[in-house]
Amino acid sequence: MKKIKRFLSGNAATYAMVVIAFLLCQLALSGLIPGFKMSRSFRGQLVPICTWIVMAVSLNLTVGISGELSLGHAGFMSVGAFSGIIMSAWLLSAFEMENETVRLILAMLAGGAVAGIAGVIIGIPVLRLRGDYLAIVTLAFGEIIRNVLNCLYFSVDGSALHVSFNNPNLPGNVIYKGPTGAVGNKTISTFTMGFCLVIFTLIVVLNLVNSRSGRAIMAIRDSRIAAESVGINVTKYKMMAFVTSAVLAGMAGALYGLNLSTVTAAKFKFDTSILVLVFVVLGGIGSIRGSIIAATLLTVLPEVLREFGDYRMLIYAIVLIVVMLFTNSPSIRQFFGRILPHRTRKGGDAQ
């Protein structure tokens, strides 16, 4: 019994949960579970679920572990999405790389790298601010990215990549057209690759949290003054959390973008940042496993509620409120406290 409890509170359980869910989905996809057939619309949700899980876990690194409220997470996602799409198109055109898995991996790496650079650029001024101000500036960043992307045009011509600002007349095959977005993408994202990205994210975030760097990040969250007094470089570790979070969001963006044939910058509005924040808050700030569950359920929920027709979003909102009230009730918490072992929280409330 004690062993089971220890397992449930550890990281291994989080990995196990994700792997089991993946295997079940694969079984259902191949029709091996009798009497259960996965609907088309649900099958279409598998890659987005992976995307939102990665988004939620990476935002949790900023909000829960590092304790900084960021409202511009969709900005990093869009940067990653379009870098990924452009990378994929360029690889196809320049090297005639037909292998979709390799292209997807390289696209995700490109998305992560560009989003990481954006994270560094935003992080330098933003991480000097605290609390509400940081939230406002990250929100502005998300909007700026979206507006800049509305004016950019990209095209590939053989192995050359052309960029222009507000000028749609580019040589070769135009792959990204400002407000119209990226049209006619080759959709190369697969559920398996999405699963791999989720596992990759979990390894990065959980291993980071349980290491010297992760402890420094949490120390700064708990008491900045005390962290400085023991010689922890506050800017460095805040930056580390922020940029890691941005890189993962960029990779998720590439996965998301390459799953759709048409993507516009308008997809990554302020609402999207808030949606990801809802996943994090609902799952429990600082709780990685909570983020995974919340992201999955809230992505599936609108599909499940489709039969309610016009009342779909109303019911969605009511479910959100009820779940929030339910998870914050002291008696429910006590109940979970009894069945789960007492354990010091790795993540706590953001200050």
């Binding site: 290491s211 402890r215 949490m218 008491s223 007094s229 922890i232 010091t344």
Partner: protein, 285 residues
């Protein structure tokens, strides 16, 4: 004289090269801390003014004074939480002008806080490990990829943390949440965390606050033990006069941001200016 036999009563304070006195045994080595004409102004108000202090390599010094005298401000100046508007601070002979808290800590100054600032959500051991942050290091990527450096570093941190916790017999509490410890244990943990940064000067801000007489006695023994074991200097702010008079070799009295007296325990106790600062002036007639 063997280290463990040192008693405050046998300490002879001698004049130091600059203004101040240090124990005779520390004459041969460079003082840990020298503050010269240190001062800070907050919008015209001189919170601390012309503060001169010299602390020997293995001295236990006390900083006392009535409430609001500027004692914690001095600590914040020494640890560079505030930048002094006047004067210089030499740590192990190095000028700290322009440094921040982090650099000052790396030069060898560590502190505890008057209102405890532990990382309450984390375990006792993790709190000490955070103190070891700059002592036993490995990089971010070793941590994420779980390279051999990670396992080696974690093991070394665990062993060192347990060693340090054993000063106060706190090994059994290693897995507890720091915020859930009793008050006295939290104060002790803060000292352990500060010691983990391998300082040469330890600043203790009211270490005995909220402790009962029995705990205070234990703390006194432990402070002396820490000094002897780690060969460091300790400067403490304290209102408990038994503790101050019991273990501090040199005592510095602050009032209204200025030093009003310096000396050994017995000198301070008889100093009329100090008595006046604490008890007020006797009415004439």
């Amino acid at each position: 004289m063997s280290v463990s036999n040192r008693k405050h009563s046998t300490t002879r304070m001698v004049p130091a090269p600059s203004q101040g006195i240090i124990p005779e045994r520390d004459l041969g080595s460079r003082p840990v801390l020298e503050a010269r004409h240190l001062g800070i102004e907050f919008g015209g108000l001189h919170a601390v003014e012309d503060f001169n202090l010299i602390i020997g390599r293995t001295e236990i010094a006390g900083l006392i004074g009535p409430n609001g005298a500027g004692k914690t401000t001095v600590f914040n100046l020494l640890t560079k939480v505030y930048q002094p508007t006047m004067g210089t601070i030499l740590l192990n002979g190095r000028d700290t002008a322009g440094m921040n808290t982090i650099q000052a800590n790396r030069l060898g100054i560590a502190r505890t806080f008057q209102n405890i600032r532990l990382f309450g959500n984390m375990t006792v051991e993790d709190n000490v490990r955070i103190g070891l942050h700059n002592q036993l290091r490995y990089g971010m990527f070793s941590g994420i990829l779980r390279l051999p450096a990670y396992w080696k570093g974690e093991r070394a941190q665990h062993e060192r943390a347990m060693d340090l916790l054993s000063i106060f017999d706190m090994q059994d509490l290693a897995g507890h949440q720091a915020g859930s410890l009793p008050y006295g244990a939290q104060r002790r943990l803060e000292i352990v965390r500060a010691l983990a940064t391998n300082p040469s000067l330890l600043l203790l801000d009211e270490p005995a606050a909220g402790m009962n007489p029995h705990e205070t006695d234990e703390l006194m023994a432990n402070i002396t033990k820490i000094r002897d074991q780690f060969h460091i200097a300790i400067l403490l702010i304290e209102h408990d006069m038994n503790l101050v008079m019991g273990i501090c070799e040199g005592i510095c009295v602050l009032n209204y941001g200025r030093i009003i007296a310096k000396g050994t325990a017995s000198e301070i106790q008889q100093n009329p200016v100090v008595i006046e600062a604490y008890l007020g002036k006797r009415k004439e007639g």
